[in-house]
Symmetry: C2
Subunit: 191 residues, 2 copies
């Protein structure tokens, strides 16, 4: 028994480098890399969360190319990775989708470079997923992170990822890979 | 005490999806993402290994933009990540560079989706790095992996990365992030 895990990439409300709240653009590599990594770790759906139709239309074209177009014949593995993609306008729509599929609201877990009162360890969330039934929605921010009043509504914040030095500017695609491996990968350290 | 760790991204000799040996193209996202992840995990140098000047010239232009051009003012963190980049034409040049800096040839470690006679666990290489002095060169293949006679010359092959299901098509950028976290990240499972 293990809990179903969903993932969302948030493009609004996001801070830019000047601490202003903006909407970030959808990037092609975020679609491809995070879909492939999510599929490897058995994520049920990868939500691209963006409020603007001008951007989501473009994302839909890319997804269709790999799902239905020439890309689906050229690379069936990519087609399979893209099958878990779902574009929604806001976090609430992702949450409601999970409720409708699973019959229960998800626990919402995110990550941040700062510590919060509800910051938890990777070991705790790994254990919760491995032994629980309640669905889990892992949210990742783009740009310089998710706006703080929205962050305040999430259930848990995972600890920052620390390397052995003080430089800490991982791409979101790398953060997703590391966090999915910590939460859902095999216990390689015990082998 | 811990061993100095270097990383190389190999573009030749590489298999394509039809098992033919080719030279792959350098991609912009491999430069950015792997430089940022490498810098976070304190990698001493990130070698982009490519034999063709037409490709490496383009990579040099991108690197110069972020090291010396407008990019270096716009994003100093990116400038710092790019400071560890080094473009070399083949694996031997990377190895010789490490020998000249460290006074000793590196142990060469790579990864593959298949198992080999010299396949080792992440825990072993993590321990070797943490307690040793001998430099370590982590090599990653692009495309469908490094040609097998070259693979046969490396000291160790890390186990494949297994997710909880049978789909296994991680982007190289995600594999780099997961492997650096396993070898050099904090012992998060023991917290």
């Amino acid at each position: 028994m293990s809990a179903p895990v969903y993932l969302g990439l948030v493009h609004y409300p996001i801070y830019n480098k000047n601490d202003e709240v903006i909407t970030t653009a959808i990037t092609n590599f975020d679609i491809h890399d995070i879909a492939r990594t999510s599929r490897t770790y058995d994520i049920k759906q990868y939500f691209i969360i963006h409020p603007l139709e001008t951007q989501t239309g473009l994302a839909r074209d890319i997804i269709n190319y790999w799902q239905e177009g020439y890309g689906s014949e050229y690379n069936p593995d990519r087609k399979e990775a893209f099958s878990i993609l779902n574009i929604v306008p806001d976090i609430e729509k992702a949450v409601n989708h999970i409720k409708s599929v699973e019959g229960e609201y998800p626990v919402i877990v995110t990550t941040d470079a700062r510590k919060f009162a509800n910051t938890v360890s990777y070991a705790k969330i790994r254990e919760d997923i491995a032994t629980g039934n309640t669905p889990c929605l892992l949210l990742f921010g783009t740009g310089w992170g998710i706006e703080k009043s929205v962050m305040g509504k999430f259930d848990y914040i995972l600890e920052p990822i620390y390397g052995p030095c003080d430089y800490n500017h991982l791409p979101v695609r790398a953060a997703v890979a590391i966090i999915l491996d910590r939460l859902l990968g095999e216990a390689w350290w015990a082998k």
